[in-house]
Amino acid sequence: MMEKVRKIKSGDVRTASRLIRNLEDGMDEARATMKHLFPLTGHSHVIGITGSPGAGKSTLVDGLVESFRKKEKTVGVLAVDPTSPFTGGAILGDRIRMQRHAEDPGVFVRSLATRGALGGLAKAVGDAIHIMDVMGKDIVIVETVGTGQQEVEIINHSHTVIVVLIPGMGDEIQAIKAGILEIADLFVINKADREGSSKLRRELMAMLDMAPASAFPAGWRPPILKCENAFEPVGFVKSLEEMSQTIEDHYQHLVKHDLLGSRMHRKAAVELNEAIRCAVLEPVLDALVANGDLERMVGQLLKKETDPYTLAEEIAQRYLKARP
């Protein structure tokens, strides 16, 4: 166990990737290793990138990696893609855009499947960030699945959240809706050479103009950057450099105004929540599946013999003995 911790601290990719996998697979021994890694975390700048499918997240991540590598920062990337609800299989294709970094020892790209987790991330993402942090990555970039309006889980794991938008996705009412547009520290209008990018920019500006001052911690109003067509290398690289600079400015802003703590408070609460779920809920569900009770109860519900609320109360009484 301590050997594993030592290897991860020294940056060993094989050990780290295997540990991430054991965590994804829910193995107890992997959680035991995390107990030793947790105290060593807290050095990386975690950047979340979210946006709709096809918005260009993976391509932007690839460009950001290049831009951070030019500044000699080491980078970890966690790229999440969806799991099939029917077969449990997944195609993890974000990596295709990032393969030019495959041989760079300063870059570690790991793909994760959602495996049923809601919110746009995978269950093991929090732990995988910790592992890359302990490996010594200066930057950890987390790319969510292609998101809709509501997948805001990324905010619980990142210091800086980038929301990637593309022109032509809807009228101005979309811009006043709650959800994903509220979590951005930085907006990127990607594929900005397409028609409608100036209109989208105006709508975002109007949205931000209407936000209360409390929406901007210590005065950070999310900048709106445009990103040029990735097939026009000069403009694209320039856009990426501006983006990586803004990301660093945001981190400095958090540090300067002592805001890192409040971002991490959220993360800590979510992690505790998740750990409780693993320790309390999963053993109960496992037991119910193993003894066939769960299937029997579903059958009762279908026949309307009882209701889910009564069943849940019964289960709570059976398994949670020391209720307050």
Binding site: G93, I96, E103
Partner: protein, 134 residues
């Protein structure tokens, strides 16, 4: 709920850009319940080996239709071994003449799938021969 999933990398080494077959297989592995990492075309053996280790896959499936399998497939197997990842199974597919089979098996490939191999037979091979790690 501990469940060991099989992770597979589908990779296209070399200059061959014919990836329809690789994509069909990726989809087919997805439907078999595997997690599939697809690297895209034009990969060097070094990129493939490094990506396989970063992704901690059980199997690397190489697809090559250009005739360069004699060099590219053994190169991937060799690099994995050198980097302490000899336990990752390497298999190959494509237009591979029978006379090359021995060279490839000797280089460490565990299976070769050539024109005529059905998707079902390939998935069946994976399910029988690829065991998730200890």
């Amino acid at each position: 709920m501990a469940e060991k999933k099989i992770r597979v990398m589908v990779a296209k080494p070399g200059l061959d850009g014919h990836d329809r077959g690789a994509r069909v297989l990726a989809r087919c592995f997805r439907d078999a319940g595997f997690e599939v990492i697809y690297t895209g075309c034009h990969q060097t053996p070094e990129q493939i080996a490094s990506a396989a280790i970063q992704e901690d896959v059980d199997v690397v499936g190489l697809s090559c239709l250009s005739g360069a399998h004699r060099y590219l497939f053994p190169a991937v197997a060799k690099l994995l071994k050198e980097q302490g990842a000899g336990d990752i199974t390497v298999v190959g597919g494509g237009i591979i003449p029978e006379q090359d089979f021995k060279l490839l098996y000797d280089a460490g490939l565990k299976a070769l799938f050539v024109p005529g191999a059905t998707l079902d037979s390939i998935v069946a091979w994976f399910k029988t021969n690829v065991k998730p790690r200890d």
